[in-house]
């Protein structure tokens, strides 16, 4: 299958505008500006079936269409480059190696929703990525792809890079907006949705890096073309970030619907050191863990949901037989405790409590009643929080207790792990 987003990802200097143009770049932009109205573009993206690649999977074209046409308020386009979901590293590759592809998508998307100001919110740690983006943006201004009257179309757009400060919660779209506004990044209540009340209370669209990077290709080849790739309800390709105990970890752009088995064994080179596969987290730590019997599940939104998990960001973490699942769940609980913003009671207090209990179990001080207690705490958090992070925080716990209860019981009974990773750092 020919790659879409990663076609030129390994070309050195692809990040420079001249190379990008030589490789076919900035052909979609003039087409969008001169041959299509904003409404037509929105229809095109709707037709393509493109769904958000950040994790939620919301149809992008539909989201764009929510921006009120008749509102006199200024619109904003925000690119979510916070990439904080553990296991995910796809956006970094796109940003560092083919930033113009993203920029082209941002400019077209801004035109489609009528935004004259756009921001790329990039996590603070991606210092190099931010530099690449700033360089690319400068090149765009020089060549007239940004600024006033882009390519003589009459459309103005200003684009800035806005660096975050080390908070996973900023990947949540309302927290992202709060962060851009210079507030403490607590999520907002929804409704109202960003399309009507967003950045500085103005209509705003927030899209993931990968989502926007697809836009130029859709404009060039048409929505139908994109819809014919992948699966009927999960169209196009997906960049899977494969990590953990595989031979060849890395980013793999594959059509939606590729099986987990193919991803891990054909592309990822199988389990490292010829060990046995124990568990897979298919879409980032907020997704339920899968066991080996489910290797033939298709990697798309619907199929994974039916299999009891989620596609999420497509960050596939592979764990072999030496992995202690309790240790993994404990480590994830520490993550969510650290990243809880503190606004709402269940998440703020609950994530800390969960971590404390997991710590005890991992360190040999678990009790019989801890498992039911954990499940009850999770039940009191899920669905009761301001933002989805509460739901995310309980998933690793509930899914590992469900699938690996024996390991938990072993910890409680024998006060130690069942297995050991061994010498991994050499």
């Amino acid at each position: 299958m020919e790659k879409i987003l990663f076609k030129y990802i390994d070309v050195p200097d692809q990040y420079k505008i001249d190379t990008y143009i030589r490789n076919g770049g900035y052909r979609a932009l003039p087409k969008a500006l001169k041959e299509h109205t904003p409404d037509e573009l929105i229809e095109m993206v709707k037709k393509s079936g493109l769904r958000g690649r950040g994790g939620a999977g919301f149809p992008a074209g539909l989201k764009w269409s929510f921006v009120p046409k008749d509102s006199p308020k200024p619109r904003f386009l925000l690119c979510n480059a916070d990439e904080g979901e553990p296991g995910t590293f796809k956006d970094r590759a796109l940003i560092e190696n083919d930033p113009h592809q993203l920029l082209e998508g941002i400019i077209i998307a801004s035109y489609a929703i009528g935004a004259h100001r756009a921001f790329i919110y990039i996590r603070g740690e991606f210092a190099f990525g931010a530099k690449r983006l700033e360089g690319a943006i400068q090149e765009c201004y020089q060549k007239g792809y940004l600024g006033k009257n882009i390519l003589g179309s009459g459309f103005d757009l200003d684009l800035d890079v806005h660096r975050g400060g080390g908070a996973y919660i900023c990947g949540e779209e309302t927290s992202l907006m709060e962060s851009v506004e210079g507030e403490r990044a607590n999520p907002r209540l929804k409704p109202p949705f960003p399309a009507s009340v967003g950045l500085y209370r103005n209509p705003t669209v927030i899209n993931n890096v990968e989502t926007l990077s697809n836009v130029p290709h859709i404009v060039l080849n048409g929505g139908e073309w994109y819809a014919n790739i992948g699966m009927p309800k999960s169209t196009g390709t997906k960049i899977f970030s494969l990590s953990g105990h595989v031979d060849k970890p890395g980013n793999y752009e594959l059509p939606m619907g590729v099986t987990l088995r193919e991803l891990i064994f054909e592309h990822g080179g199988g389990i490292k050191d010829n060990r046995k596969l124990k568990a897979v987290i298919p879409g980032g730590v907020s997704t339920p863990v899968l066991t080996a019997e489910l290797l033939d599940v298709k990697m798309d939104f619907e199929s994974l949901y039916e299999a009891g998990s989620l596609l999420g960001s497509g960050a596939t973490i592979v764990m072999d037989e030496t992995t202690c699942m309790v240790k993994v769940a404990y480590r994830i609980s520490k993550f969510f405790e650290h990243e809880s913003c503190g606004k709402c009671v269940p998440c703020r207090e609950g994530t800390r409590w969960i971590r404390q209990i997991m710590e005890r179990i991992e360190n040999g001080k678990g009790r019989e009643q801890d498992l039911d207690l954990l499940r009850d705490i999770c039940a009191n958090i899920a669905g009761n929080t301001v933002c989805p992070m509460g739901d995310a925080a309980v998933i690793p716990i509930t899914s590992t207790i469900e699938k690996f209860r024996d390991e938990y019981e072993y910890h409680i009974k024998h006060k130690k792990c069942m297995v050991d990773l061994g010498e991994r750092f050499v």
């Binding site: 990439e83 904080g84 979901e85 553990p86 296991g87 995910t88 590293f89 956006d91 970094r92 100001r117 996590r123 603070g124 740690e125 991606f126 210092a127 190099f128 800035d160 806005h162 660096r163 975050g164 400060g165 080390g166 908070a167 996973y168 962060s179 851009v180 506004e181 210079g182 507030e183 403490r184 990044a185 500085y200 970030s241 494969l242 990590s243 953990g244 105990h245 970890p249 890395g250 980013n251 987290i281 730590v285 960050a315 973490i317 764990m319 992995t323 240790k327 993994v328 480590r331 994830i332 993550f335 650290h338 990243e339 913003c341 990773l421 010498e423 991994r424 750092f425 050499v426």
Partner: protein, 159 residues
Amino acid sequence: MLSDSTQKRIAELKRKFPEKRSAILPAMHVVLEEVGFYNRDILKQVAELLDLSEMEVAEVVSFYTYFPKQGVGKYHIQVCTNVSCMLLGAEQLVGYLEDKLKIKVGETTSDGLFTLSAVECLGSCGTAPVMQINQTYYENLTKDRVNQIIEELKKGKET
């Protein structure tokens, strides 16, 4: 105290956004780049330059973990210990650094050169284990790589 050029850079940020509060995080990145840490005086200065109250700036900055306070070493070693890195020996990497630098996580070497922190996912899971030192990522770490990096930093050579 911030240098004149730093102050100028920060003051210019105020005009960049529809609301001046938006300039707080960008200003802190300027501070991080040019000073490497912050303290109360710096926050007060930033507030003044952005025409905000000290409280507004302090509240926001305290929410984020990326900006170290004064006292951080010249090289802030941030080792990712989240799942993918943990699966590939991040905990052992931390232990290795603790032994090598003779400090525990959260501490700074007595010569003020290195501070060791354990951080959350750095978004580089495919090349685990990974650490970030100041603004640079070091990936695919092995003991040899780590030794090399530390030696070069000690010599003042940043790779």
